[in-house]
Symmetry: D2
Subunit: 302 residues, 4 copies
């Protein structure tokens, strides 16, 4: 499925799994539909919030399949591919491409530290296995490897490596990347950056878990930034930021799943031994959602 | 000396020391004068770039005295106070107050990790020792303690704790601080944040070493941000950012001293065993300054 | 298969994989046989050195099966189980138990930080899924969670959690564990500890990659420690330590595989994007093996 | 004052300071005398436990003077010298040499990360400023620089750099150092290593805060290790280790001062904003000392 250049708000979807390991397909499809109705510009299954690290091959594939089918081509679906080996990454890329994904979010898991040549060969192999656009994902907090600026510059030469999503909290790093490869790579923010700041410096949107529970507000923020109405954008940003911080305090997946449960989506808890949000965490999520007028499902008043 | 509320560009001054441990007073006074001519809004001796950690009591006092005298009340002088004990901090505060400083930049050095009550008592004692406004300095990278948000909220209740300068690279942290205490504490950026972003989210300026070598450009950036001319601001910010990153690659003091030497200020090298910038480092600094039209002294074409 | 209490030298086996993802069974079986001939007291497939993080379900199972079959009950086979979810861990435990493993080395992989209750529930579920003895594996360097002393004390109450292998470099931590639960849990060293020291403080052996390439010398060291011939033990330990440090400099799996290749075992390189040892790394491994008289296969000369 | 080669138990002395910043000389002299009576082999003022980072120039000098005078040449006094600049370090070395110290414990404080050449020049200048033997102090936890093995090898060539004290918890690192320079540098343990293990691998003793409160037991442990009575040594070591761990849980200086207070030494609290031990901490220290029969002053019963 071809799409225009990716831009805007891409919620990181949660992965609802039942007690037998099956995908809760109905609620996932309903969430997809509601988010699209709320105006999001794309969808990203199998990001951090999507618990990619906790799902097996079959569960991952089924998640991608359900999301693609529910999206019905209305917005691009950028599927996360996370692996430790090149062979596993390539296999996932091909599978999700065949399932109809619109793009690939490339994540490198590492157990042993890995040399830069290895990092580059991993993402190159991934890009070589598909004609879909690839989003480089860099997360110095969770991965044991990182994409250095020289590695990004090498990868930017590949024709279908066209986006980057940075999950650090170092916004200056994004400006350095934009300065270096901004003509070839478009940059998305993640939830630890202030989206309005990333838009100011030249970013094109954000891929983040919180957009699952506040999609309308997120799209509104994007529109204000895109229109360069910075004062209005900051007023909204300031309110939305409280939510990013609440979510940062807890396990991302637990909190987004907890927030969706509060909104009436029966997505369940994160996979054990992860634990559901504590009562205090749940109360804090509820407070923040209430303050943002987001205790109803995204699709409630579409 | 009373001043209006602090805002704008406050260069972190270097500390020029001769081979006998004396302060190179002439060059320091000349730098102060040139920076004021270039339009900076204030001056900050004894920050990180000022090598506070490498100077003894007498050197620190003499630095403050020379800067205050050279400034002649034209701009506020906010002197850095760094100590491990409350008694040493209080002694420094009183000394710099008596020397005519306009404000105090409070820095906590810690050897053993320190409990939050200890952190709060340290800054409270500092604020209690003077009527001058106090700037809280927080630098998770260099100090072994940090100012948590709850600690900042407690300190914000003291009448003369009115500013905060954050030296992390986590810009989102600043927005959380502004959300929590923005009505009582004004926030300055440091060199690891993108100044334009900090201005966008509600900051009032920046305190940083690079402004020593690019004062005019820094003031211009501040003016553009202050006027909400964000597109123009970002064009300039993007160019200036290259400099922040070059300086971040090397020892801050070594690089700013190296840059000033290139501009004709005989400020010398950082104190041994710190080493002067390498040839490669010096070349990189020269390139960046040349690209910014900043190879002449700040006061050259005032 | 029942065995006496585990003690002594348990090499962490490498996982030889061919270019199609198949297990190189012949060389793995030969290595198993040679190590047993060299006197090792047990075998541990699927530890860090065994690249568990890089293998899929089928590869892992086949590795365990080949090792169990080649061992023919002569020494216990303790299979590594690493997972992020309880369900995956339990499935692996049951599979390796059914394949004839003599014990389970329990490893917790985490993507998000995990609360202590979650950690305890993970290992408890693992122990509950088998009657085999379980070895707790703790590695603060590679895992994003760690087994605290209180968690270990809770787990020590389960009847078949009977061993612990610590992969930190903090030997004092082991003495604290022995002080706390030494009557119920026996402690194995890993390659970052000095095995002779761990034996001195009450350990019962070590599980480590280097023993793959110097099995005879490792067994000799164990025998000297066991006999409390500490002077002789330290003479040998000092020589063997050089090897632990060479291996610590490089990717563990790359180095052990590289060393085995030098000895004539065609185990191949670590899985891409991991890279084979550099020429310098290979030369350093060769020097160390030569100094230890270990450039021949383990089984070459009895 | 000349002494035989340093070996054995060197307590890190606390620095008792009164509310006016003066040294509590009587109690410090009494502690020195009691520790010597208890059999310690040397004394180390101005280590971490001695709060060197919290004392000014005059306080440091007075501490050294009081300790040297109270020791009356009965045991060597190795004074800690900690500085960020070479000039300050050299000044301290000369001062403590003139005051009659028997050796210098060299500590490098760093604010900015420092290149290896700078590290080597710092310790070289220190060694060049005195004829006294110098102990290299390396503490990766508290300093922002560390002594790498290549740096240690360069420094070992200087004639009066003859000892090293390592404050990491990585005992294997000590064996690597002994393997590399053991013929020229003798190695002391610190409180995070298990002293018996360091003795086993070739160490000559330990410099540590806990020996202030359990000097007799520490000397007994040393004697057992020195006599290669490892079984007896480990029995005692196991009991003593509980104390090292209690002290590691809290601010070192707070705990040793708290323990000495319990023994009747009026050494006061650590300098503010450090806080005295909590009630729980104090109770835990009391329990451990009671279990070791160490609630009386060291000198109480010869």
């Amino acid at each position: 499925m071809t799409h225009e250049a990716f831009r805007g708000v891409f919620p990181y979807l949660v992965s609802p799994i039942d007690e037998h390991g099956g995908v809760r397909e109905t609620v996932l499809a309903r969430l997809v539909n509601d988010l699209i109705d709320a105006g999001v510009h794309g969808l990203t299954p199998l990001g951090s919030t999507g618990e990619f690290a906790y799902l097996n091959r079959e569960q991952r594939r089924r998640i991608v399949q359900v999301v693609v089918e529910a999206a019905r081509g209305r917005v691009p679906v950028v599927a996360g591919v996370a692996a430790t080996t090149i062979s596993d990454a390539v296999e996932q890329v091909k599978a999700y491409d065949a399932l109809g994904a619109s793009g690939i979010l490339g994540i490198l898991e590492a157990y042993f530290p890995i040399a830069e040549d290895g990092v580059v060969s991993y993402f190159s192999a991934m890009a070589g296995a598909t004609a879909l656009p690839v989003v480089l994902y860099t997360n110095p907090q969770f991965q044991r490897s990182d994409l250095t600026l020289p590695a990004i510059e090498r990868l930017a030469k590949l024709p279908n490596i066209r986006y980057l999503k940075d999950a650090s909290s170092d916004t200056g790093r994004l400006l350095s990347i934009i300065n270096a490869v901004g003509d070839r790579i478009r940059v998305f923010s993640a939830s630890a950056h202030i989206p309005a700041c990333v838009m100011l410096i030249g970013g094109v949107g954000w891929m983040a878990g919180p957009a699952c529970v506040v999609p309308r507000q997120s799209v509104q923020l994007y529109d204000l930034c895109h229109a360069a109405r910075w004062d209005d954008a900051m007023r909204l940003q300031r309110k939305l930021w409280r939510m990013n911080r609440v979510f940062a305090k807890y396990n991302l997946a637990a909190c987004i799943k907890g927030g969706l449960e509060l909104q009436g989506y029966d997505v369940g808890a994160p996979l054990p031994p992860q634990t559901p949000p504590s009562d205090a965490g749940r109360a804090e999520v509820r407070d923040v959602l209430a303050a943002l007028g987001a205790l109803e499902p995204a699709g409630a008043t579409g």
